[in-house]
């Protein structure tokens, strides 16, 4: 297992390199000039040129890239063009943990709601509960989440005054964003769990369990669920990526100061180092979570050969 973990860790290296290269190139293809943006609306040519030189934007691209990767390995992601502060420091402040928190709460919510709904649906196929849950799931899947977020604010915060509109900190602040973020994932997980359960229920070993005299309940929770979870677990990992992306929107709507907003702000400001850094961190986070999911997956599903 340990060997597997180490090997699996090594496998992430080319992915990481690919990610840095992709981000780096993308950011450098962007029209516009960071120096100009920094200098402001009323700045003159000389000031801009000065700024460009300071930022090292006049070096060849590949040099900039190698410098970047070299530094990144040492945990130095450069300095923000906009604020001139260390990107690493800027990212790994509170805001990093806020986004991680948000994404995990969102994932947790999605998993809990999704699993419960999926299991209920699968065990009561075609019942009213099943149909309505699946309709809900469909809605959850079909709703643009910024819209959902704004609707939630107006309903729960402005009209009912039950919850705060925006911000982060107390548990009340977390409810609406988590719902906004988790809804899509919950819908997907619910549908996935349902179909996975229904598939598993038709398998031979379930019949074996019944033939042993195992009760319905135990068959569902001990025999079926465990196996049904296998595809669901992988989806959860991928969902996490979706949630990180969704955080961009959720954080914007709920004015949460997380990585998502940092990304948007940086993209707008053409703050290359910051965009590179944040996207890299998101990708790393995603890769790590999927790495964990992979390990979990192997724990649940012993069939996969560890070698």
């Amino acid at each position: 297992m340990l060997i597997y973990i180490i090997r699996r860790l090594f496998q992430t290296i080319p992915v990481m390199l690919g990610v840095t290269l992709a981000v780096f190139l993308m950011m450098h293809l962007i029209p516009g000039d960071a120096a100009k943006i920094m200098a402001g609306e009323n700045a003159d040519e000389a000031q801009i040129e000065q700024m460009r030189e300071n930022l090292g934007l006049n070096d060849p691209l590949y040099e900039q890239y190698f410098r970047y990767v070299g530094n990144a390995i040492q945990g130095d992601l450069g300095n923000s063009i906009r604020t001139n502060r260390s990107v690493t420091e800027e990212i790994f402040t509170e805001r990093f943990w806020i986004t991680v928190q948000l994404a995990f709460i969102g994932t947790g919510l999605a998993v809990i709601i999704g699993l419960i709904a999926g299991i209920i649906s699968a065990t009561r196929k075609y019942s009213i509960a099943d149909v309505s849950l699946m309709i809900f799931a469909l809605f959850g899947l079909s709703m643009p989440n910024f819209w959902l977020g704004i609707m939630l604010i107006y309903f729960f915060a402005v009209d009912l005054k039950m919850l705060p509109v925006a911000g982060w900190g107390t548990w009340e602040h977390m409810i609406l964003p988590a719902i906004t973020l988790g809804t899509g994932g919950a819908a997907i997980i619910a549908r996935m769990t349902r179909s996975s359960m229904l598939e598993v229920v038709n398998q031979d070993f379930i019949r074996t369990a019944y033939a042993k005299g195992v009760s319905d309940k135990l068959v569902i929770y001990k025999h079926a669920l465990r196996n049904a979870l296998i595809p669901v677990v992988t989806v959860v990992g991928l969902q996490f990526g979706g949630l990180l992306g969704g955080a961009v929107i959720t954080e914007t709507v709920f004015a949460i100061n997380g990585l998502g907003r940092l990304i948007i702000d940086s993209i707008r400001a053409h703050d290359f180092p910051m965009v590179q850094g944040t996207i890299l961190v998101c990708a790393v986070l995603f890769v790590i979570v999927n790495f964990i999911v992979d390990i979990l997956y192997r724990l649940i599903n012993k069939r996969i050969d560890l070698n």
Binding site: T208, A209, A211, K212, G213, V214, R226, K302, R303
Partner: protein
């Protein structure tokens, strides 16, 4: 006459599909005596598995449903039992071994757990005792170093070992009746020999009655006391094993026996065959189901379904040839 552990009377099971009703089992009668082995043979799709699933009431309702008949287990009709009672019977009084050792075990539970579960449910043993029992069962079915194997997952075992685990599960509670649905079909011959041997030994030791479903006539010849030959959801011949192999009466049984290439005998020329193929379950012939393929078929065969008649030697055959009506029939309706 010894005690009948299981008596199946006019069992009818249907599947209600989009295309219509499939009468998978259509009036099956047979019985199993204590300690004896009954073999059920027949073409693929003839209803062997469905018969066994009907006995344990493991059909997927509401698509598949027992629509008639009686299943008397020690005199009590299983079809009248409540769900809870059935749960107590399954795995305890009657257990089952399935065909596919690869898919019939839960991939996410250790082998030991899967055996112990059965014991825990029926014998109310605690975790530790159940585990001990599981290890003991593994030893009984001839798995080397059972303590280690019990902790392994099915994927870590070979096909033959998995089938042994299946048998261990089935026999863990010392059932009175074991139903084995093609327990060796997926296995290699040398492994099959191991498994059959094991089953025979255990059956003798434990006195279990056995219902053995197979399409391998060799297995039947080796294992069974009585044989039921099924065709299209019906038993066409039911006799003791010697009669079936030496003096088969039904044209299908005869055809079947003749079309098997023997490994221990030489012969020249072509195999004798049964022409045609099994009718579609949606388009069953009106009369005898075998009539379209039967070399002897006459008019009555096409129009009327024969009954399962008991002949003087105790052989039960579903064929007009063995009835009085036959002599009166015109020849040449077929072709």
């Amino acid at each position: 006459m010894t005690e009948k552990i299981l008596e199946v009377k006019d069992l009818r099971t249907s599947f209600f599909t989009d295309e219509g009703e499939v009468k998978a089992v259509d009036g099956v009668d047979f019985s199993i005596e204590k300690g004896k082995t009954v073999g059920i043979v027949g073409e693929s799709g003839s209803g062997k598995s469905i018969t066994s699933l009907s006995i344990l009431r493991l059909l997927q309702e509401p698509v598949g449903k027992v629509v008639g008949g009686e299943i008397l287990f020690k005199g009590e009709n299983l079809l009248d039992k409540s769900k809870k009672d059935m749960m107590k019977i399954r795995g305890n009084n009657i257990s089952m071994v399935f065909q596919e050792p690869m898919t019939s075990l839960n991939p996410t539970l250790t082998c030991g757990e899967q055996i112990a579960e059965s014991v825990r449910i029926h014998q109310k043993l605690n975790r530790k005792d159940a585990w001990a029992k599981a290890v003991e069962m593994l030893r009984l079915v001839g798995i080397p170093s059972p303590e280690k194997r019990a902790k392994q997952y099915p994927f870590e075992l070979s096909g033959g070992m998995r089938q042994r685990v299946m048998i261990a599960i089935a026999l863990a509670c010392n059932p009175e009746l074991l139903i084995a649905d093609e327990p060796t079909t997926a296995l290699d011959v040398t492994i099959q020999a191991q498994i059959l041997d094991l089953m025979k030994k255990l059956q003798e030791e434990l006195g279990t009655s056995l219902m053995l479903i197979t399409h391998d006539l060799g297995v039947v010849a080796e294992m069974c006391d009585k044989v039921a030959v099924m065709y299209c959801g019906k038993i066409v011949e039911y006799a003791d094993v010697k009669t079936i192999f030496t003096n088969p009466k039904h044209p299908y049984t005869i055809g079947l026996l003749n079309s098997v290439p023997k490994h221990d005998r030489d012969y020249e020329g072509d195999l004798s065959v049964i022409e045609g193929s099994v009718p579609s379950p949606f388009n069953l012939p009106k009369g005898c189901r075998f009539a379209p393929r039967c070399p002897h078929a006459r008019a009555i065969c096409q129009s009327e379904l024969p009954n399962l008649e008991t002949l003087e030697d105790g052989d039960q055959v579903r064929c007009w040839i063995h009835t009085e009506k036959w002599e009166k029939e015109e020849v040449g309706a077929h072709e």
